[in-house]
């Protein structure tokens, strides 16, 4: 292997790693606040790319229908919950929040989806349409189970992943899509060709990582969200509404994931079910960070990206095998680093 190939592979690896890092971050974020292992993160990636691809065609993307549908279900669940708790007076506000807002956003998306819409605005509309799916998903699938064990939540997550993949096929169809790059230009540093697109991907990822790290570690809101994860009742007693914390977290995670979808769109063709493998690579990264540390998770994701890039050069048929087998030594290392005496929940 000579230097140009090495540089190319490294650049590929770092770019992919930066996208996986966004996934890893969303996983760590969701786990830290809700104890949910966010298996369906990959579906949000796919929804992100496919929504942008739909907007490219100048037509309203299928996401509009999905958003309205989930809004109606969430609204119905709210009505049911209010009636059961004898709080019928709250119904209008709750329905306005859970059904009204998604419908308004879907309407805006529908109205804006014209061939004249500039590319940057298409990206914003994509994020606007996919992000609210996060809190809706939390409301429908996870909130009724918020007190359950990590394992039950994990099984629900896998079920959600199944359902969202199927819904993806239903709404977006079986064809794959690619989206255009932000920039096709490139420049040369010390004899190595660097594409602007890659650089943008890495820089935006890095910015988000720093924001999350600072936001969670050093602000009151971040601390409040983390407190919810440890003890929902305790958090409520000191004035943190746990359901709001969960919804906010899922919104943030959906934003990160759909943005990751926008970023990978130019590199690879994305199908309705492409997200799972991408999210699993984010997982490997997140697990390297022990599902708690943002910088470690990002570093892990970068490692996964590099490993994948070099594996595809030497043994392309086995690149996925190599990436997923990496998790075994990582787990071994973590298991040796963990103290033995721990009771299950």
């Amino acid at each position: 292997m000579d230097l140009p190939i090495f540089a190319l592979l490294a650049q590929d690896g770092i770019t992919n790693g930066a996208v996986y890092a966004l996934l890893a971050l969303s996983l760590v974020l969701v786990f830290a606040v809700t104890r949910v292992i966010f298996v369906p993160s990959g579906e949000f990636v796919a929804y992100g790319t496919l929504t942008l691809a739909g907007l490219q065609l100048g037509k309203p993307p299928a996401t509009v229908g999905l958003l309205v549908g989930m809004g109606v279900v969430a609204g119905a669940m709210e009505i049911f919950a209010c009636v059961r708790n004898g709080e019928a007076g709250r119904i209008p506000r709750r329905v306005a929040a859970w059904t009204g807002i998604p419908c308004v956003l879907a309407g805006i998306g529908w109205w804006l989806a014209t061939p004249e819409l500039p590319f940057w605005a298409q990206i914003l509309v994509t994020l606007m349409l996919v992000t609210p799916l996060g809190p809706l998903l939390y409301r429908i699938a996870y909130q009724p189970l918020a007190e359950a064990s990590v394992l039950v939540l994990l099984i629900v997550s896998v079920a959600v992943h199944f359902a969202l993949t199927g819904l993806g096929l239903w709404f977006f169809g079986a064809e794959g899509s690619r989206t255009p790059a932000f920039s096709a230009s490139s420049f040369e540093v010390a004899g190595v060709n660097v594409s602007v697109q890659s650089l943008l991907v890495v820089l935006t990822s890095l910015a988000l990582i720093v924001m999350l790290y600072v936001g969670f570690g050093y602000t009151l809101y971040g601390k409040a969200l983390r407190a919810t994860a440890l003890n929902r009742v305790g958090a409520r007693l000191v004035g943190i509404p746990p359901n709001l914390a969960g919804s906010l977290t899922f919104a943030l995670a959906a934003l990160l994931c759909s943005f990751a979808g926008v970023l990978i769109g130019p590199f690879t063709t994305v199908y309705y079910d492409s997200g799972f493998l991408v999210s699993l690579k984010g997982f490997v990264g997140a697990i390297i960070g022990g599902l708690v540390s943002y910088p470690l998770a990002a570093a892990g994701a970068l490692l996964v990206g590099l490993l994948e890039a070099f594996a595809s050069y030497w043994a392309s048929a086995f690149k996925e095998v190599i990436v997923f087998t990496l998790i075994i030594p990582v787990l071994l290392w973590r298991s040796l680093a963990t103290h033995h005496h721990e009771d299950d929940e």
Binding site: I37, I140, A141, P144, L145, A148, S149, V150, L151, V152, L154, I155, V156, V158, A159, V160, H161, F162, A163, L164, T165, G166, L167, L169, W170, A174, L280, F283, V284, I287, L291, A317, F318, E320, V321, F324, T325, I327, I328, L331, L332, R334, S335, T338, H340, H341, E342, D343, D344, E345
Partner: protein, 591 residues
């Protein structure tokens, strides 16, 4: 736990087997095929019932073990013309080795790492099946010979049905046996009561691996059957999606009972069949839409009936009365060598949590046959001292010797095996298990039956003696009317007494009681006190950690008083009551 021994009586079993056996004799081909698949899936789901439902360890990767069973026999019988029956054992051996290694690595982790790891290696193995040349790549391997059973070629699906269900019923029987046995009780305690299980001599880390391997072996058997039923293999049915579906089967059916596996496999297989017919017609598109319904079904089920369908079904069936406990000779009493000097000696034990010294160079000893009270105000370090003796915490420095041998650095299960029994301040009983089973868990250290013996019913003699021993311990503490009640249904005071019975069933030389009177009402305290007096009369050595002075004064021979991690005083109860330093600590110097 529902569905113990004979959940619906002998008649129910006969009816179940009759219906099963009748299907291939009368039903059309289509239903026999479905029945074959239900059988194959049930075998895998059964392993998950034990692993996930009972032991609390989730695996999404069982399909990969099915694949190993299937591919082993496919390769060996097509390339090397080996007999499928030899291949079965080669496949089992391979699975055992792999599952052991994977288990060793991942089972030490906290709950959620295992399922994530199983997803990862589930995907890796499935990708390997598809990418290795000699395994036939994505097209797979064809020409696998039919099974030959006593000279009969099983080419017909109807014949094969009997083999599949014969093995499935055998697995069902073995797993049910296992759950009602010495290792089974320990497995049932693993989920959420790991620390308690270890305190009664269970090597939890080892047992988890055993259960993991057991589930993997069942999956491999299912794969072997699958390969010879289909006569060809390709990677698709061993992928991660199928692995997830196996777990769904166990959860939908009810992962707490062996019958849940069969119910779940049946429901999911039928539902899938129906949905694959209906949905495309309904939606006007073709595609894998049943996953949407499955996903939604799972979410609704977990939100509203987390225990699955079986517990609900079991309510409708008549239940057989629990088997009476027969009297049997006691289990061998554990060697009581005469000890030179005190039974337990604590020498300058220190425990520091970072900068906080919870126990500061404490020294005391317990003589055989006495009740020693360890008392002190809240936060004095009593519970920490207790945990140092029971092995739940390691000392920072100093020594603790039991019968003259140091137990520092021993795991809790090793300390239990040495002859120290304990109770917990916060009651730790397996709530769904009967009082009898909970107490029988205490006798774990006195038995020897392993998983193999238990699964094949070779442990029945020891099991009868264990149950009789547990029943005697229950009689000793006066809980005979509650023998068959679920432990979780008793009031707190009685649960505390069950804890003591469980510790007694272990036949300990030293009994450690951690605040047994905490949270008890006056009358319950009286009953507890008279029980402890009775035990003392029988010559039991007891270390009693307590902060209720009245309770301790009338019971103990000697007292050690702790404050701020240090020993404040030691002596007879009457002297302690007049000790000015103790009065100062308890009453703030009023005296």
């Amino acid at each position: 736990m529902t569905g113990r021994r004979l959940p619906f009586g002998a008649f129910g079993y006969v009816a179940f087997v009759a219906v099963l056996a009748g299907i291939p004799l009368v039903a059309p081909e289509f239903w026999v095929t479905l029945g074959n698949y239900v059988g194959l899936y049930s075998i895998v789901a059964l392993g998950l019932v034990l692993l996930t439902g009972v032991a609390g360890q989730t695996s999404f990767g069982q399909a990969a073990f099915v694949g190993i069973g299937a591919y082993t026999t496919a390769i060996l019988s097509t390339h090397y013309a080996l007999s499928p029956w030899i291949n079965l054992f080669v496949g089992l051996a391979l699975t055992l080795g792999l599952a052991f290694c994977l288990g060793l690595i991942t089972l030490r982790m906290k709950g959620h790492y295992l399922p994530l790891a199983t997803i990862a290696w589930g995907i890796s193995l499935a990708l390997l099946f598809g990418n290795l040349e000699f395994l036939g790549g994505h097209t797979g391997l064809t020409g696998i010979p039919a099974l030959n059973l006593f000279g009969l070629e099983l080419r017909n699906e109807r014949y094969f049905y009997f083999l599949i269900w014969g093995i499935a019923l055998l697995a069902l029987w073995a797993t049910d046996n296992l759950l009602d046995s010495r290792p089974g009780r320990a497995v049932r305690a693993l989920r959420g009561h790991l620390g308690m299980a270890e305190a009664f001599g269970v090597d939890a880390a080892r047992l988890k691996i055993v259960v993991f391997v057991y589930a993997a072996l069942l999956a491999a058997v299912s794969g072997w059957l699958y390969a010879h039923l289909q006569r060809f293999v390709n990677p698709t049915p061993f992928g991660i999606n199928q692995g997830i579906e196996y777990l769904f089967m166990a959860v939908v059916g009810g992962a707490g009972s062996v019958w849940g596996a069969v119910v779940g496999a049946t429901l999911i297989t039928l539902a899938k069949q129906v949905l694959q017919d209906i949905l495309p017609a309904l939606l006007g598109k073709s595609g894998n839409f049943e996953v949407v319904v499955f996903g939604l079904l799972m979410i609704v089920l977990l939100q509203h009936a987390r225990d699955g369908v079986w517990p609900w079904l079991a309510q409708l069936l008549p239940r057989a009365a629990p088997a009476p406990v027969s009297d049997a000779e006691p289990l061998p009493s554990r060697a009581r060598m005469a000890t030179q000097g005190p039974l337990l000696e604590v020498r300058a034990a220190r425990k520091a949590f970072g900068g906080l010294v919870a126990v500061n160079d404490l020294t005391f000893a317990i003589e055989s046959g006495e009740i020693l009270g360890l008392i002190g105000p809240n936060g004095a370090g009593k519970s920490t001292m207790f945990n140092l003796i029971s092995g739940a915490l390691d000392v920072t420095s100093g020594d603790i010797a039991f019968r003259g041998k140091s137990i520092v650095g021993c795991m809790p299960f090793e300390i239990a095996r040495a002859g120290i029994g304990r109770t917990f301040q916060h009651v730790k009983l397996v709530p769904g298990m009967s009082v009898l089973d909970n107490v029988a868990l205490g006798a774990y250290v006195r038995g020897s039956a392993g998983v193999f013996a238990a699964a094949f019913g070779l442990d029945r003699a020891e099991e009868t003696r264990t149950k009789a021993e547990a029943a005697r311990a229950i009689a000793r503490v006066g809980l005979v009317p509650h023998v068959h009640d679920p432990a979780g249904s008793l009031p707190l005071g009685k649960q505390r007494i069950v804890e003591i019975a469980r510790a007694l069933a272990a036949d300990p030389a030293l009994l450690l009681l951690d605040e047994p009177a905490a949270g008890l009402r006056y009358l319950e305290k009286q009953e507890l006190a008279s029980l402890l007096r009775q035990l003392k009369g029988e010559g039991m050595t007891v270390l009693l950690v307590e902060h209720d002075m009245d309770f301790v004064m009338g019971l103990t021979d000697r007292l050690v008083v702790m404050e701020f991690g240090e020993k404040l005083a030691e002596g007879l109860p009457v002297d302690i009551q007049r000790n000015p330093a103790v009065l100062e600590a308890y009453l703030g110097g009023v005296a």
